[in-house]
């Protein structure tokens, strides 16, 4: 759609002009970056690699009330977010936007999940292309890229003195209008395109995913998983920081007589996750859990929604304390000798 631009020093003004939006942008909490609601546009900066915690929390908060009720009563009051309230994620990286478009499949599948979807509908995603990909990015290998438009309503390029904005949807157009952006010239468009191509070249890591989804199930009993699971801590870093991981737990909580049913992030890396009340656990050790995590992203999910549930943002690699490197695993899986998985 439209090509726009705004001067670097106008960033604050642009944000200020987005009155009718609740705007979220990367902000520093101590040493870590996280998407926060913009309170003072003046100290928003877009000079960042990527946030530690992905913006998935904006659609799928770590803890979310499903409904409230009084103990003893049978009236429940759902707390579904209001879609009419316009929100904007400003400066989101293409990989994280891509993640939304993947997870949409799951939340749209069969029973629609109103909590997630209402937020999605009401939210405009203004992306920021990566000029300098990080060390462990591999977005191009999984259908994304430093300037991928997937899932975005608009995509910004940092051209130094100005930001070039390419609106991709009506929502994107609305944003451009609301922000009163000036039209951009061909030069800018070219510069942006150039930046995109260069960035693509700079992406250091990659994996050829061809054949992986079909092969993984055949490696079900393969010992190669243990090379990784043996040092796995079974913590939730890889999954909690993954923009496409979407699993959750549901629990009832009560304060005196006010109670709620809430859902909170859960992870297949915890043993409680799949533990039966009987004490039987279909995934008794980290081997099965690691296998499930990888297989889910690269086999089960594609089998269901034929898209790989990974956007190559590299978070799980960057933050894994024991260097369990998903690219390494996939690589090994390709070398691994397929064995006929034994069944009952």
């Amino acid at each position: 759609m439209g090509d726009y631009k705004f001067a670097r020093d106008k960033l604050a003004d642009v944000l200020t002009s987005l009155k009718e939006y609740q705007v979220f942008a990367p902000a520093a909490v101590g040493d870590v970056l996280r998407f926060k609601e913009v309170t003072d546009p003046a100290n928003v900066s877009l000079d960042y690699d990527n946030t530690t915690v992905p913006p998935k929390e904006l659609m799928f908060p770590q803890t979310e009330t499903l409904f409230k009720y009084r103990l003893g009563s049978t009236e429940v009051e759902p707390s579904v977010p209001d879609a009419s309230k316009k929100r904007m994620v400003f400066g989101i990286r293409p990989c994280d936007a891509h993640a939304y478009s993947i997870v949409d499949n799951l939340y749209g599948w069969d029973f629609a999940d109103p909590y997630y979807q209402k937020r999605r509908e009401g939210t405009t995603l203004v992306g920021l292309a990566c000029a300098e990909p990080c060390a462990n990015c591999f977005c191009p290998s999984v259908g994304g890229g430093p300037a991928s438009e997937k899932g975005l309503d608009a995509l910004m390029f940092d051209l130094g003195d100005a930001y070039y904005v390419n609106s991709l949807t009506d929502k994107g157009e609305e944003f451009a209008k609301a922000a009163g952006l000036e039209a951009a010239g061909d030069a800018d468009a070219k510069a942006a395109a150039k930046q995109g191509e260069d960035a693509l070249k700079k992406v250091a890591r990659s994996i050829d995913t061809a054949g992986i989804p079909e092969k993984l199930p055949s490696l079900y009993d393969h010992p190669f998983w243990e090379q990784f699971s043996d040092r796995c801590l079974g913590c939730g870093i890889c999954t909690f920081l993954c923009p496409t991981c979407h699993c959750f737990d549901i629990q009832d909580e009560a304060e005196a007589f006010d109670a709620r049913r809430a859902r909170m992030w859960d992870t297949c890396m915890f043993s409680e996750y799949s533990l039966h009340t009987s004490g039987h656990n279909p995934r008794p050790t980290r081997k099965e859990r690691t296998r499930n995590r990888i297989s889910h992203k690269y086999s089960y999910f594609p089998e269901k929604f034929d898209v790989i549930a990974c956007v190559g943002c590299g978070r799980c690699i960057n933050h894994c304390p024991v260097n369990i490197d998903i690219l390494d695993i996939l690589d090994k899986s390709k070398q691994a000798e397929a064995k006929e998985a034994k069944t009952a």
Partner: protein, 143 residues
């Protein structure tokens, strides 16, 4: 604020000395503030320091643990363990920014009804000093 603020205090008393001491305060018709609510346990050594954390989280403005004087424990050693545990837990909470006045401990024997009454007054006073405990109290955050 503080003048009408009435702190709420959860107390853990050992059955053999302090709880009996509290009873004695009653039978001797001593008067003390109603802010302290007592939970009876068999021994101060039973009190898991996490109880106290839990009490503060639930909204108690202070806690009191009371047991037999050192050496008089009905179970010989329980109060010695308790002493260590709460000394440490108090320091830990202090480090997190919890006013140490919220964590109180006392030795009250079955014969020290008067002392128990004093302990209550002092505990309440300290909690008043510290003000309402709302640092990490369970509230309905983004409910």
């Amino acid at each position: 604020m503080s003048e009408e603020f009435e702190p709420n205090i959860v107390a853990f008393l050992c059955n053999w000395c302090s709880y009996a001491g509290a009873d004695l305060a009653g039978t001797s018709r001593m008067r003390y503030l109603p802010n302290v609510k007592i939970i009876r346990v068999m021994c101060s050594g039973r009190v898991n320091p996490l109880f106290l954390l839990n009490a503060l989280q639930q909204g108690a403005d202070g806690v009191l643990i009371s047991g037999c004087h050192p050496g008089d424990c009905h179970y010989l050693e329980g109060n010695f363990y308790a002493r260590r545990r709460f000394m440490l837990m108090r320091k830990l909470l202090e480090h997190v920014g919890v006013d140490p006045g919220r964590v109180n401990m006392s030795w009250v024997s079955a014969s020290e009804g008067a002392k128990f009454a004093d302990v209550v007054e002092e505990t309440v006073a300290k909690a008043k000093e510290a003000g309402p405990m709302d640092q990490f109290r369970r509230r309905q955050i983004n409910w």
